[in-house]
C-alpha cells in the first residue's frame, strides 16, 4: 500500500489563538481541538517545561536519578454519578491508574480530593468510596492522601473527585506518544464506545432502554503482561475523551508520523453501533474507560497480541492499523466501502461530562 495516499495534506492549517475576551464553553473540556487550544494558548505559555510539553497522559520524572516515576492527575465530573458498569468512584480510580500505566509504569499510590455539594446523601458518598476501594484493590494501588471540601448547594453537582496517581516506570522501558515509528502495528484492546453510550443511557438521552455497560476497568495488569512480553512497545494510550480518533491524532502529531487504520477491524458492540447510528455519532469519537491502543514493532506485534488475548481486559484485542512515514500528523482510514478518508481530531464537545 502507498505510504502516502493523500499527499496534498500537510497537516492542519495555522491555528488561531484563543482570545482573552472569550469565555470558557463546554467544548474546552472535550478532549478535542478546543481543549488542545486551551492548553496551547493558556496553560503552556506560562507553565511550559519539557515534561509538560511532551503531552503524554502522565509526566515522567526522576527525583533521585534512578527511580523513574510516572505521575498523572484527572478531575472527574461525570454525570450521573452512577451508570451501568460503574460510578464516579470507580472511574476516578481507573482513569488515573490507567494514565499512570500508559507510560509503561506500575501504579502504586493514589491521592483523591473530593468536592462535595451541600445536601449530598452520606449514603451516596459511602457507595462511591466503597467502589473506589474495590477497584483500588483490583488494581493493587493504595490511597495514601486525601482531601474534602464542601461547597454550597448549587455550586457543584453532587461529587467531583480529582485523583492523582504515582507509579514506577518498568526498567528498560521508554513508552511515549513521541515513540511511534513507521512500520509499527497498532493494536486496539477491544470494542469501542461502551463508556460514552452507557453514560448517555444513564442520563436518559438515548431515547430507548439499553443493556450497554461502561467498560471502565483498571488496565495496569494488562499492561504489565504486555511489557513482560515485548521490549518493543513504543506507545500506550487509553482512548478516553475524544475517543480512538483523538488519541490517534495526538500520537500522529507527537511522533510526526502518518497513521492508517482499517475500519473493518474496529470492533463496536452491536447495541453501541445502533445507538451511534440513531444519534448520529461516530464510535471513533466516543469515550472508552477500559480500552487502550498500543503501537508495537511489526516483529513483536503478534506476540503482544497473543499475550493480550490471555488477559481479562485484552481478550478481544485486534490489530487495527499501522504507522507510515507520511502523511505526517494525519490519521487516515480505509473505510468499509473501499475509500480512504481523513479521521480528524474532534473539534468541540461531543458529550459533556462523560468522565
Amino acid at each position: 500500500m502507498n505510504d502516502n495516499p493523500l499527499p496534498s495534506m500537510q497537516g492542519p492549517v495555522c491555528p488561531v489563538p484563543l482570545q482573552h475576551k472569550e469565555k470558557i464553553v463546554l467544548g474546552h473540556g472535550s478532549g478535542g481541538k478546543m481543549m488542545n487550544d486551551l492548553i496551547r494558548d493558556i496553560f503552556l505559555p506560562p507553565l511550559d517545561n519539557p515534561i509538560l510539553r511532551v503531552g503524554d497522559d502522565a509526566g515522567v520524572v526522576t527525583p533521585n536519578g534512578n527511580t523513574y516515576l510516572s505521575i498523572s492527575t484527572d478531575a472527574h465530573v461525570v454525570s450521573p454519578l452512577f451508570f451501568p458498569g460503574g460510578d464516579i468512584g470507580k472511574l476516578a480510580v481507573c482513569g488515573t491508574v490507567n494514565d499512570v500505566a500508559m507510560m509503561g509504569a506500575k501504579p502504586l499510590y493514589l491521592t483523591a480530593s473530593f468536592i462535595l455539594e451541600e445536601g449530598l446523601e452520606i449514603e451516596t458518598l459511602i457507595n462511591i468510596v466503597n467502589s473506589m476501594k474495590e477497584v483500588s484493590d483490583e488494581a493493587g494501588v493504595q490511597l495514601i492522601a486525601g482531601d474534602t471540601k464542601v461547597v454550597e448547594k448549587g455550586k457543584a453537582d453532587g461529587v467531583y473527585i480529582s485523583t492523582t496517581g504515582i507509579g514506577t516506570v518498568y526498567p528498560m522501558v521508554s513508552i511515549s506518544g513521541e515513540q511511534a515509528k513507521p512500520g509499527d502495528q497498532i493494536i486496539l484492546s477491544g470494542p469501542i464506545g461502551d463508556h460514552g453510550i452507557a453514560v448517555l443511557g444513564a442520563r436518559g438521552e438515548l431515547g430507548f432502554t439499553s443493556d450497554i455497560k461502561s467498560d471502565v476497568a483498571p488496565l495496569n495488569h494488562l499492561i504489565e503482561t504486555m511489557i513482560n512480553t515485548s521490549k518493543e512497545i513504543h506507545v500506550l494510550r487509553d482512548p478516553t475523551r475524544g475517543g480512538v480518533a483523538s488519541v490517534l491524532n495526538e500520537i500522529a502529531n507527537q511522533s510526526n508520523v502518518g497513521i492508517i487504520i482499517d475500519e473493518e477491524t474496529i470492533l463496536v458492540n452491536p447495541s453501541v453501533q445502533a445507538a451511534c447510528e440513531m444519534l448520529g455519532f461516530d464510535p471513533l469519537y466516543i469515550a472508552n474507560e477500559g480500552k487502550l491502543v498500543t503501537f508495537v514493532s511489526e516483529r513483536d506485534s503478534k506476540k503482544v497480541l497473543e499475550a493480550m488475548h490471555q488477559t481479562k481486559y485484552g481478550e478481544n484485542a485486534v490489530i487495527i492499523g499501522r504507522v507510515n512515514q507520511t502523511p505526517k500528523k494525519r490519521v487516515l482510514m480505509n473505510t468499509l466501502i473501499g475509500s480512504t478518508r481523513v479521521v480528524d481530531i474532534l473539534a468541540g464537545e461531543l458529550l459533556p461530562r462523560i468522565c
Copy 2:
C-alpha cells in the same frame, strides 16, 4: 508549672458515628470535628491503611526502599477567586507545597486539575495560571501534569483547582504529628488569622473596609532552613482550615500528649484582632496559609527560632507553648486574664470556602 492543671479531663467522650441517612453540610469541609467524623466514619473504614491512618498533612511512601516521597493533595474552592494578597491559583500551589514540606520534605513536582464553570472569562483563567507560575517559581516546584474539565453554568463557581504535590523527604528526618514529645517547645512562625479575615473582607462580609492581606506563601524554604539547623524538629504543621487551635488538637491526639500554650505570646495583627472582636471570632480558629507550627526539642528550640528569624516567612516566629505528659489529647491555654482554659477543636463550620 503543673504538668496536669486539669487532671479530671480525659479527652473527648466517645464519638457518635455519622448516620448513613444524614446529608453533607458545609461543616463537613471545615477542618474541624465534623470533618474528622466524616474521615473516621466514611473514608477510613474502607480505605484504611497505615499511611492514611497516621493523619498527617501528606503521606510518606518509599516506592523503591531508598527514596522517601512525601505526597499530598488538596482541593481548592476558595470564594472569591481573588482576594487581597492572593488568588485561588497562588493558594492551590502554596497549600500543597506546604503540606508536602510539613513532612520534612523538599517539594519538587506539582499536578493540577481544573474544574471550570462554563462562562468563565478566559482572562480570569490566564490571571490564575500566571499566579500559579509565579509562586511555583518562588517555591522551586515544577508543574508536570494537569487536567481540565468543564461543567455547565451553575454546576461550579468559576474555578476549582485540585493540586497534588510530590517531594523527597530530607535524609535522616522523621517529622510527623505523631512525634511530639513531652518537653518539646512549640514555635508559631508569625501572626495568625490574616488569610481567613482577608477572604472574608473580599466577600464584603466584614462590614467595613480593611487593609488585611492573606498571608498565603510557600513555606518550603523556611522549612529547609529549619531542618538544616536542627535534627530535633519533631512536628511541622500549617494551621489552615480550623486554625492553630485545630492543628494543636490534632497533634495532641496523634502523639497522645498534652499541650499548653500562652495566650500572651500569640501574635494577631491589630486589624485582624479588631475584625475578630466585631464578628465574634477567636483568631485561634481562623485559617492561615503562610504560617506553620513546629515542635522542637527544648535543647534546639532557641537555635531553630533564631534560624527562622533570618527568613522571609519566619521573621516573627515565637515560642507559644510546650508539650506535657498530661492531660493527654488536650490543648490548654494560659489566658491573658490569668486563668487556664481548654482550647477545643472546632465543631462545625466557621468560615466556608476559605481555601
